[in-house]
C-alpha cells in the first residue's frame, strides 16, 4: 500500500476504478458460468472476464489490472467454483497476465497480439496444472488444440477490447 505508486491519481479514483473493473469481470464470470459455451472441444471457453483484464491493463495500469485479475479469480472461484477451480484459474490467469505484461512492455505488439498471447498462455497454464493434478503428461496431446483455441479466443477478446477502448475514457 504505497500511496506514491500512481503519481497523478488520487487513491480514491484508482480504488473506484479497480472496484468497477473487478465487479464487471465478476459479472462476466457469472454470465459465463450461467451459459457455458460448449465448443467442439471440451474445457474450452471464451474467457469473457479476460476482456476486463485486457482493458484494465490498457486503461488503469499494470498494478490495478493484476489486482482485478487476482480478485476476480478468487471471488469467482469462491462463488461459482471450488478450491481446485481456483488453483486451475490462477495458473491460467497468472501465466497469461505475466505473458501479456512482458509483451506489452516490449511495445512491439498491438492489443490483438497481446490478447492472443494471453489466450494461448492461459490455456498453457491450465493444461500444466491439469497434467500435474492427474500426474500425467499424456495430456499434452491436447496442446495443439488448446493452442489454436487460445489464439482464436484471444483474438476475439482483443477485437472486443479494441472496440471498447475506442469508446472508453482513460481511467488513469
Amino acid at each position: 500500500m504505497n500511496p506514491s505508486t500512481a503519481p497523478h491519481t488520487s487513491r480514491a479514483a484508482s480504488l473506484a476504478a479497480g472496484a468497477i473493473l473487478t465487479t464487471l469481470s465478476l459479472i462476466f464470470s457469472y454470465v459465463e458460468a450461467l451459459f457455458p459455451l460448449s465448443l467442439a472441444v471440451p474445457g474450452i471457453k471464451l474467457g469473457l472476464a479476460n476482456i476486463v483484464v485486457v482493458l484494465a491493463l490498457y486503461t488503469a495500469g499494470k498494478r490495478t489490472a493484476f489486482l482485478v485479475n487476482l480478485l476476480r479469480i478468487l471471488l469467482a472461484g469462491l462463488l461459482f467454483g471450488n478450491a481446485f477451480s481456483i488453483l486451475y484459474s490462477l495458473a491460467g490467469g497468472l501465466l497469461s497476465f505475466a505473458a501479456m505484461c512482458l509483451l506489452k512492455r516490449t511495445g512491439w505488439f498491438s492489443i490483438l497480439g497481446i490478447s492472443m498471447a494471453g489466450g494461448v498462455f492461459h490455456n498453457l497454464g491450465q493444461l500444466t496444472v491439469a497434467a500435474l493434478a492427474v500426474s500425467s503428461f499424456g495430456l499434452f496431446y491436447y496442446f495443439p488444440v488448446l493452442l489454436f483455441a487460445g489464439m482464436a479466443t484471444g483474438i476475439l477478446i482483443g477485437i472486443v477490447a479494441v472496440l471498447v477502448l475506442q469508446k472508453l475514457p482513460v481511467l488513469r
Binding site: 457455458p36 460448449s38 471440451p42 474445457g43 471450488n82 481446485f84 486451475y88 509483451l103 516490449t106 512491439w108 505488439f109 498491438s110 492489443i111 490483438l112 497480439g113 492472443m116 498471447a117 494461448v120 491439469a130 493434478a133 492427474v134 500426474s135 500425467s136 499424456g138 495430456l139 496431446y141 496442446f143 495443439p144 493452442l147 489454436f148 489464439m151 479494441v162
Partner: protein
Amino acid sequence: MTICKKADIILAILFLLLGGASLWLTHQLAAPGARVVIMVDGKEYGTYSLQENRAIEVIQPGEMRNVIRIENGSAFMDESTCKNQVCVHQGAISLSHQSIVCLPNKVLLEVIVKGGSDRSPDSVTY
C-alpha cells in the same frame, strides 16, 4: 494506435507453426491403442483391453462415481458425478496417448499400445 502490428502477425505465425508442429508430432506418435489405463488420484487403478466390451465403475469417497465404458475398441466416460461433465462430453478415445480427464474427480483414462501386438515407437524404424 494501429489495429494490428507486424509483430502480432509474426507471433501468430510462430504460434501456428508451433501448433502445426505439435499436431504433426502427435499424429506421428498416434497408433491404434491396445489398452486403456485408468488412473485415480495419480495412482493406477487398472488396465483394460480395448478389445473387450465392458463397463468399469470407479467409486471414491465423497460420493464421487465415474463409469467408464469400453466398446468396439474405444473407451469413453459414460457417467460422472462431477459438476462440469467435461469428461462425459469428450467422446470416445482409441488412439495411443489420447486421454480423457475428469479433473474434479481426478480420474484419468489414457490409451496405451504397450502389451498389444500394435506397433510401438521403437518398432517403426523401417
